[in-house]
């Protein structure tokens, strides 16, 4: 499986608020972050919840608190499937 992103790449998360199950938390939608590393290849949770197994690259993506919440000086890292990400 070829990965679309590499460590250090800037990415933006999806703004879509789907009706189905997803593992992209609301607070991290439509936000810019930096790829901090790979986090394995796992079935996309959104599809697996509907019985479809489609493995996809997962990335560790680091966000600043300022980007996520408009304030704060900490950092937050999430595991995000490639599906959730687009080029910054």
């Amino acid at each position: 499986m070829s990965e679309r992103y590499r460590t250090g790449d800037r990415v933006r998360t999806s703004t879509v608020d789907p009706e189905h199950h997803t593992r992209l938390p609301h607070y991290a939608r439509g936000k810019s972050g930096t790829v901090a590393g790979f986090d394995g290849v796992h079935p996309l949770a959104d599809l697996r919840a509907r019985g479809i197994v489609q493995p996809q690259q997962v990335y560790l993506v680091e966000f600043t608190a300022r980007e996520l919440f408009g304030q704060g000086d900490h950092k937050v890292t999430l595991s995000l499937w490639e599906e959730y990400l687009s080029d910054e």
């Binding site: 938390p25 607070y27 991290a28 986090d39 996520l68 919440f69 704060g72 900490h74 950092k75």
Partner: protein, 196 residues
């Protein structure tokens, strides 16, 4: 919100589902009980304490643990297996400049094999919603006041990976054995809501 999940609709659904599986001979109830008991008996925070103590006394073990925890745990007789699929574990290290804290904002994902069942507050909406946006305030509520220049890193176990914090070794413990060091570690220290 209630923290007693036994009366929740999902618990009722699971009981119903289990009953159907048993009635059709697909699951042996006593076998299921044995497997669950074995897993929960082995899953205690003492496992995490042992990992931390080894990392404090063995720098090479520490480096391997931070680089690839899953491959390193067998060195101390542990693994992230036991569930339906082995979970990926990331160990994140506290330093003089960085403090780590773990949350699952979407539900209550937690490395049960190493830390045992999660505390009630870990599953509470209050912790899950606030630690990600205001970690410094939440840590203060836990009695942990960090210097202003300590960088806080929050790890959201929102997908397949689980996290354990490697706390800083307390000062004045140079003479302690590995077993004595393990006794100094606390569960909250492994989640990042306390120093050790």
């Amino acid at each position: 919100m209630s923290d007693d999940h036994d009366d929740s609709p999902i618990a009722a659904q699971v009981r119903e589902f289990e009953a159907v599986l048993e009635a059709r001979g697909l699951v042996d109830a006593s076998e299921l009980d044995r497997a669950l008991e074995a897993f929960t008996h082995r899953a205690t925070p003492a496992n995490g304490f042992r990992v931390v103590a080894r990392a404090w006394v063995d720098a090479e073990f520490r480096a391997r643990l931070l680089d690839d925890a899953n491959s390193t745990l067998p060195e101390v007789g542990l693994s992230m297996g036991g569930g339906l699929q082995p979970q990926v574990l990331h160990v994140v290290e506290n330093t003089a400049d960085v403090h780590n804290v773990v949350v699952c904002t979407l539900c209550s994902c937690y490395p049960i094999a190493l830390l045992g069942p999660s505390p009630t507050w870990y599953k509470s909406t209050a912790y899950r919603s606030k630690v990600v946006s205001h970690p410094r305030e939440v840590l203060e509520q836990f009695g942990l006041t960090l210097p202003d220049d300590t960088e806080i890193r929050v790890w959201d176990a929102n997908a397949e990976s689980r996290y354990m914090v490697l706390p800083r070794r307390p000062s004045g413990t140079d003479d302690l054995t590995e077993a004595e060091l393990a006794e100094r570690v606390t569960r909250n220290g492994l989640i990042g809501t306390a120093a050790v």
